[in-house]
């Protein structure tokens, strides 16, 4: 069992945990490595890639040159579990399901960045992913990795499943509205825009530069997979079944998500009430910034101003004529939408400062 840390001492005598990353050659894996190589409480013990085994990681992730001399290893569950306190799995959906189960059975703690353990209802895997989940029992043990919603459960979790990038972005904007019983829970519409890195590192004809550049492409107008997660979490918050309709669009940025979430108010609500609802939920959250400014360029959330950071910026407005609330949220899909959330969960799991290694000011301009 690796619930306790196999301590080594870092700078300043602070204890470090030994961490492994499976599937470290992809975009999410690379982003995880970017955060982990400088994290003061982490010793990078093992990183795996079938394709690049034996190669220095900076050959695949050039930005890491000079930060680590670690090389990719082939996948070896026994080695990972004996050498690591915690293993991140950053392999594609459907590939993680067996790897995570095997890791979990060794007793090592796991943070999975795929979708394979996010949804509690096994039937949803058939509907949204087209396969039957082989380990429904493990779904119930997995903790959904949004610290803003599940901090206490994450603290002692052996398996954390990080949320989908658009799901977490949308949820952080919608959660206060459900928590304060402000909206009609049967008619919520999530309109999402996402950059090209959200499609991962595996090329397809649609990701080729000539086809991807300049697009505003609705790529899954209905039945997008993240819908299941948003409904699941909103239903937990609301204490009843919540219905969400979602349409994502591929847009001409590399990193970033903007979710424009539409809902209808149950009663007349003022902007001040909304401020109090959002403040009530996020006042002490290190990675949620509330953006509804009457001054300056940045009046509402915009992914341009969160790139490289773990922030999810959240804002809102009210359309009084139609009793509609527009809840806006922006994040970096590789950070708060993936690797940043994963490291935030790690910090919670090990009792580190939750912002350790993550307080990065956004890169501007990009």
């Amino acid at each position: 069992m690796s619930m306790s840390m196999s301590m080594s001492m870092g700078d300043g005598g602070r204890e470090k945990i030994r961490v492994g990353v499976i599937g470290a050659s992809g975009y999410v894996g690379g982003e995880l490595l970017r955060l982990l190589v400088t994290h003061p409480r982490v010793e990078l013990a093992m990183v795996t890639s079938r394709q690049y085994a034996g190669e220095y990681v900076h050959r695949i992730h050039p930005g890491l040159r000079g930060f680590t001399e670690i090389t990719f290893s082939p996948l070896d569950i026994d080695k990972l579990s004996s050498n690591c306190d915690l293993v991140f799995t950053a392999v594609p959906h459907g590939k993680a399901v067996e790897i995570v189960k095997r890791l979990y059975d060794t007793g090592v703690r796991v943070i999975d960045l795929s979708a394979d353990y996010r949804i509690k209802d096994p039937e949803a895997y058939k509907y949204y992913y087209g396969w039957s989940h082989p380990y429904p029992d493990l779904l119930s043990k997995s903790v959904y990795g949004i610290p803003e919603l599940h901090r206490d459960e994450i603290r002692n979790a052996r398996l954390v499943s990080c949320p989908g990038c658009m799901a977490v972005t949308s949820l952080l904007a919608l959660a206060p509205l459900a928590k304060h019983d402000l909206i009609d829970l049967d008619h919520i519409v999530v309109d999402s825009k996402i950059g090209s890195s959200g499609a991962g590192g595996k090329p397809s004809s649609g990701t080729h530069h000539a086809m991807r550049y300049g697009v505003v492409r609705p790529y899954k107008p209905v039945k997008h997979r993240h819908t299941a997660e948003i409904e699941q979490e909103m239903s937990i918050i609301a204490g009843r079944r919540v219905s969400v309709s979602m349409t994502p669009h591929a847009v001409n940025i590399v990193r970033g998500i903007l979710c424009t979430n539409h809902a209808f108010l149950k009663r007349s609500t003022t902007i001040q009430e909304l401020w109090r609802a959002y403040r009530g939920m996020y006042r002490n959250e290190p990675f949620v910034r509330l953006i509804r400014d009457t001054k300056g360029l940045y009046k509402y959330p915009d992914p341009k101003f969160v790139v490289g950071s773990n922030f999810c910026d959240v804002g809102f407005d009210i359309d009084e004529r139609n009793n509609r609330v527009v809840a806006l949220s922006a994040s970096d899909n590789l950070m708060k939408g993936a690797a940043g959330s994963a490291v935030q969960c790690m910090n919670v799991m090990y009792g580190f400062n939750e912002a350790e290694g993550l307080l990065i000011t956004p890169l501007t301009p990009v």
Binding site: I271, Q272, W275, R276, R279, L290, R292, D293, T294, K295, G296
Partner: protein, 57 residues
Amino acid sequence: MVKVRCPECDKDLNIPDDAVDGEIVTCPDCGANYEVTHMDGKITLKPAESVGEDWGE
């Protein structure tokens, strides 16, 4: 500094101890402008007049 909640967005504002009546403070989050007033030894904020921005055509 004296902490006073922004009446608009509920943010904790830091008002200088030596703020005088009529001094304008702006909330860093929502951008609302307030005029500082002292009442019964306490600082209170009242909305300050400002010129609205009109982007319409």
